[in-house]
Structures are given as structure tokens and as C-alpha cells.
Assembly symmetry: C2
């Protein structure tokens, strides 16, 4: 009993120490003790284990003179970048993007290639990812075998716990156990999640979500996505899938959505919805052509075309309504708007945000801050890489625990 | 440093031991050690402190013979009911209900009286609560001073952290710092929250939410309320207020709500909304008369009246849509439907639940279970009492910690 308790404490101590070092970038042992409330002796034991296992390394003091004043120089500790290399993949719409990241979180390489639409079967998606990892690692003179893990962000309904794809616009097949399929073919640990959840992870690590415990990320690309962070963790719901903001209903028996239901937010704000309203060919949706058509429609609206303006105006109103519903249910501290459609400022215009704010319950405390964060596919891929790195860290720490016992 | 760490551990140990005893009702020290992973020595120290402070008590073994087989009889521990007495109040609509509860969670008394509508000012609400506590405690031969704390569940937008009432249908004034006002007049700790959150607490302790970590409670009374439980805790959002499900929008620029906005769910399913549709006097809403009118309308629908049926049918559809939005955003494991309007089975009819289920994103995992829990005002008051008891427990444990340091 006693032993189990001690081991549990040591394991949570290791996690805490490693997270503290990662968070502070470089930190002396005594400052770790202060930050964690662990005793200096415990910190020395744990950092010793982490050093032996190569997860961290010692560095010389930044400024020996200043430290000298305070007595003997304090040796700093940092994460050892070379400890693990991970890959993060964003597969969405027509692009596949790869970020290679070391254990310190530094980008070591990147790669992008065209993603075929509606990949017809499981062999092809496994083969595509295999090829993608070959090419990405080759760029920095390595092989997929040099990776410790791979994170994948995929649009659609994903059960992250099992790495199971209920449905994704990228894949023709539904109900694909993607993680076991990949791990069978490519001997690496894979970690698969909805791509917007991984944007939320990237926001936590590199973006506007640093030091924010509760926030949501809303993205508009081909569809509308949402990632929810509660108490610093991605909220996944009871069925393990992310929030399906795009399919919240904004109109009873409303416009037909590509999911087959009516009145979904996506059916008012996604590309195909805008083009359908504009009487343009809906069948072109999702091709480069559709992108160009949506852009053309946007510039028409900007130039004063009343019909185009009316299309965007309703989309903006519906978006404000959907967002207000999230605030009324969830009351996040911060809303981050992201994604490729950021260029269409009708959705993020002051008017839309004001609409949202006037549609939430009015109390004498201001509604949540809305911030707009424009970034490209590489940041999504970096989020996927961080997701893999968090999982690889857990595996490494579990390895230490079983060594010790 | 070391001392602080040890004290932190002892404090969380005390919390864990007390929660384990409460959870198991009666338990031997050795079983506490097993359940908590604390060492038997630590359990003996902590239970010793709790015994001295009267929070727990020893009880003779249930069946000495059986225990004898396993060696010396094992003394059981249980919560000492007499340690603290708390009151829980539900103030909503036209009734005030009080539950008096001992530290074991056993009901010691109850009381109900009429609640005036729109209590005009802060003196009157404080006076009303003072009188209510006098009468409730007098019933069991005690005084308010015998209470260790009072929990209050109030409809409206409440900041539970501060005990601040942004808005409540029970009060005429907005922005009332109710907790400090009460504590100044009545020298007791008060704990104030939205009443539906306290239904959720009651469901956790006595109802369908036992051993369920993630669930939501939806109530329909004069308005529509929601309580969200995540990881076993009430989720309060960034601004400290509960979920405002009744004011999620189900129609852009839709029906006028009593909150002044348009298209809120309440504006389709609350009493006043039903009466308005039926061309009955909306000004009667909230009186006994309105209750009777809504009942009459319901029985008309049951009897086949097409207009009445149409009114309830739309309310049901809107309710299903609103509920589907919560599921799409939140994906709870269980939805509990509760409240006075449970008699109107149009809202909870199989058809409505089916509508909801067909409006959530379809994956090959079933949508959340929906369970209907009919209960009266006393259960809401019991939830408020439990809320007070949880807070009183924290205060007692903090007292132990400062004694020890």
C-alpha cells in the first residue's frame, strides 16, 4: 500500500517537474522546488532520473556574474530537444501539411503536398500517410523510424481516445479504425484527433490560449469547427468526439446541410451554402474553383453588389446567433476565431461580434472577449505535433515509472 | 517548503478520507486505506483528528460474528450527523421551501410557505429569509443560530462565487449582493446559487446523477433552466453564472422573450409563450391563474383541439432543437429532465426525444440517454442543503488545517 502511494506520488512529481521545466524553458533546481512545492531533495532525485533518461539536460548559467553575486552559480535545466522527434499532420480540404518538432517544441522541418479528395479506401489513406512521412523526414535527412510518434488532425467526427474516425470529409469510408490501421502498417505510435482540437492545443502552446484555462476556438474553413478547453484540457464529451458547432441548429427545418439534416449553422455559412444562395453550381464546392467562386462573391459584396451583400449578411447573422448560443451554454472566458475563411471579414466584422454580444444574456459583467487569429496550415500541423509530443511525454514518463518499480 | 508540502498533503488527505467515509456510509479504517491509497498510519492520524473534532464517529461492527472470523472486530467509522445542521432553501415561482439536513445528509425538518412575487427591495428579501429560517428551525425546536450554514437556490443569473444576484425573477432589483446582505443581518454563512445547479447537486447525491461524472439537468418551470456537471463538479463558466439554456436562440429574430431579446427557447416553451400563442392574456402569466390556463390548454390539446395541439407541437419541436444544440456542443453522457412542467408530457414525449436524437450529429455511437425525473420543491431544497453542507465541510476542514499548523 505504502509503496503504491509513494510510486503514485513520484510519478505525479515527475510529471510536475517536467511540465515546470518545459513551461519555464530554463530553470534551476531550487526554482523548480519553489514552483512545485516539492522538497529540494525530491526535485534532485527526479531531475536526476530525467537527466539519466535524456529527457532534460543541464545548461550553464546565462550570466555567471549575476549568479555569482548570489553565491555559487546555479545550473539551469532545460528540455533536451534531441530526446524525441515527433511529426504533426494536418489533413484537411486539399492540403496535407507536416510539421516535424523536437522535444523542446522547436520546428525541425516542414512539408506540404496535395491531399486527394475523398480518399476512397483505408489502404490508400495508410499509404498516403506513409508516403507523407517518408517525404517529410527525408527533407531533414531522416526516416519515419526516427520519429517517436505522429499526431494527426483530421476534419470530421473523430474519437480521439480510440483514434477512430466516425466520419471525415477527407475519407470516403465511415467508421475507420485509423490508429490501429496505421500502427499495423507503420510501427509508430499514432495520435489522431479532430483538427480543431489540435488548433486549440496550438493556441495553448504558441498562441492566444497561453495562460488561459477556459477558452474556445472556432474555425471556418470548408466547414465550421470548434475546440473547447476547460481547466486547461481539451473537452471531448461523453462519446469522445469534439464539439459539433457546425451542426448546431440555427433554424427549425431550415436550409439543407451536407450532413443530411436541416438548419445546421454550416448550411448557412460554409462555402457550399454561400454558393448555393448565389445560384452558383453547388457541385463545384470543395474544388479550387469553389474557392475562387467564394472569393469572387466576397469581392462583389465589397464592391456594393446587393445580392452578394445579402448572402454574406445572413451568413454573418447566423454565425452570430450560433456563437451566442455557445456563450449562453458555455460562457467561455475567451473566444478565438481562426481558419482559412478569416479573409472574409463579414463573419468577423465588428457588426457580427456586436450581434453576438447583444444576443447573450445581459448581465453587468462584459461578455467574453473575441479575438481573431489568422494563421496557416502549418500552425494546425504544429498543434498536431504538440499533441503527439504530449502523448510521447506520457509514454516516456510511464517508462520511467516501470523502470523504477 | 517541506512543511508546506506536508501540510498540503495532509489537507488533501483529510478531504479524501472524509469524502470516502461519506461515500461509503460506514467503513473501517483499513478499508479507507485501501480505497484512498493512503497508508494505514496516515488514515489513523487523520481519522483521529476527525474524531476529536466530532466530524465522524465510531460505530460497533454490524455483525461481530462475521468480523470475528477475520480476526479482531473492525470498528466502523461514519459521519457524525450531529456535527452540523444546515438549511437549504428553494425560492422560486410562488413557493419558498426549506430543508433542514444534518451532517450525514439526513432530512431533519422541512417547511414551506408562500413566496411573494417580485420582492421589491433588499430589506424585504433579507427579512423574508430571516423569517423563513425562524419558522423552519422552530418546527424542530431550534433556532437559526443552531445552523452551520444556509444554501439558497434562486432562479435567475447568479454568480455563485460571490453570492451575487445579477437578475432573478423573484427579485425586483437587479445586481443584488445577496450573500453579504444576508450575512450582515443573519450571522451565518450563506451559499447562493442558481436553483438548477442545486438540482444537479441533488441529482449527484440522491438522484440519477450518482456515479455519473458528466451530465446535464434541464428543468422547465416558469422558465427553462440548465445545470452542467463536468468531472463531478458544477460547471459555472468564466463569469461564474450557470448555463443559460433558456436564452439560447432557436430562431433568428424570432418570438419576443421576457428578457427583451428575440428567438430565445423560453419564448417558445415557457408558460407565457404558450398562453400568448393561445391568445390568452399574457399579463396573467406567473399567477395561479396562468398555471390553470396552461393546464387547461394542455387538456384541450389532449382532448384533440387542433390549435392547442399546434401550440404544444411547436414548443416540443423548439425544445428538441435547443436540446440537440446542447448535445452537439457538449455531448453529455446523460440528460435529466426535471421540473414542475413534467406533467406536460408533450415536451418529454417520445416524439420530442426522437426529434432531438435525430437532430444531433449521427455517428455509430448512440446519442446520450435522456431520463425523466419528476420531483417536487423539497428535492430542490435538499440540493441547496447539500450545497451548504459541502461548503460547511470545507470550512470545517480548513479549521482543522489551521489548528494543526
Amino acid at each position: 500500500m505504502k509503496t503504491r502511494q509513494v510510486e503514485d506520488q513520484r510519478e505525479s512529481g515527475r510529471r510536475l517537474v517536467l511540465a515546470t521545466i518545459r513551461n519555464r524553458e530554463r530553470i534551476a533546481r531550487i526554482d523548480i522546488a519553489e514552483a512545485t512545492s516539492l522538497s529540494p531533495a525530491t526535485v534532485t532525485t527526479i531531475t536526476g532520473e530525467l537527466l539519466i533518461n535524456g529527457l532534460i539536460e543541464e545548461i550553464a548559467p546565462d550570466n555567471p556574474k549575476r549568479d555569482a553575486k548570489r553565491g555559487r552559480p546555479r545550473v539551469g535545466l532545460k528540455i533536451r530537444g534531441g530526446a524525441h522527434l515527433v511529426a504533426g499532420l494536418k489533413l484537411a480540404d486539399k492540403n496535407a501539411t507536416v510539421a516535424l518538432m523536437d522535444f523542446e517544441g522547436k520546428l525541425q522541418g516542414e512539408h506540404a503536398q496535395r491531399l486527394p479528395r475523398k480518399i476512397p479506401d483505408q489502404n490508400e489513406i495508410v499509404h498516403f500517410i506513409e508516403d507523407l512521412l517518408d517525404q517529410a523526414t527525408a527533407k531533414i535527412g531522416l526516416k519515419p523510424g526516427d520519429l517517436s510518434g505522429v499526431g494527426i488532425g483530421l476534419a470530421g467526427v473523430i474519437d480521439a481516445r480510440r483514434g477512430f474516425v466516425h466520419w471525415s470529409p477527407t475519407l470516403k469510408e465511415r467508421n475507420l479504425p485509423l490508429r490501429p490501421l496505421l500502427e499495423e502498417k507503420i510501427s509508430l505510435p499514432f495520435f489522431i484527433d479532430n483538427d480543431v482540437n489540435l488548433v486549440a492545443v496550438a493556441e495553448q502552446w504558441f498562441g492566444l490560449g497561453r495562460n488561459v484555462n477556459n477558452f474556445i476556438v472556432v474555425t471556418i474553413e470548408q466547414g465550421v469547427g470548434m475546440g473547447i478547453v476547460i481547466d486547461g484540457k481539451i473537452y471531448r464529451g461523453a462519446r469522445g468526439c469534439g464539439a459539433e458547432f457546425g451542426h448546431t441548429k440555427v433554424h427549425l427545418d431550415g436550409a439543407l446541410c451536407r450532413c443530411g439534416q436541416r438548419g445546421c449553422l454550416e448550411a448557412y455559412v460554409a462555402d457550399y451554402a454561400l454558393l448555393r444562395e448565389a445560384n452558383l453550381s453547388a457541385s463545384a464546392s470543395g474544388t479550387d474553383n469553389a474557392d475562387q467562386q467564394v472569393s469572387a462573391l466576397f469581392y462583389k459584396a465589397k464592391a456594393g453588389d446587393k445580392t452578394a451583400q445579402s448572402i454574406f449578411r445572413r451568413a454573418g447573422k447566423m454565425f452570430a446567433l450560433g456563437l451566442a448560443n455557445v456563450v449562453n451554454i458555455f460562457d467561455p472566458g475567451l473566444i478565438i476565431l481562426s481558419g482559412e475563411r478569416m479573409q472574409f471579414d463579414y463573419l468577423y466584422a465588428g457588426e457580427v461580434i456586436e450581434n453576438m454580444k447583444s444576443s447573450v444574456v445581459q448581465i453587468d459583467v462584459p461578455p467574453p472577449e473575441v479575438r481573431i487569429h489568422k494563421w496557416g496550415d502549418l500552425m494546425w500541423a504544429k498543434g498536431a505535433a504538440v499533441y503527439a509530443m504530449e502523448a510521447v511525454t506520457e509514454i516516456a514518463l510511464e517508462g520511467l515509472a516501470s523502470d523504477a518499480s
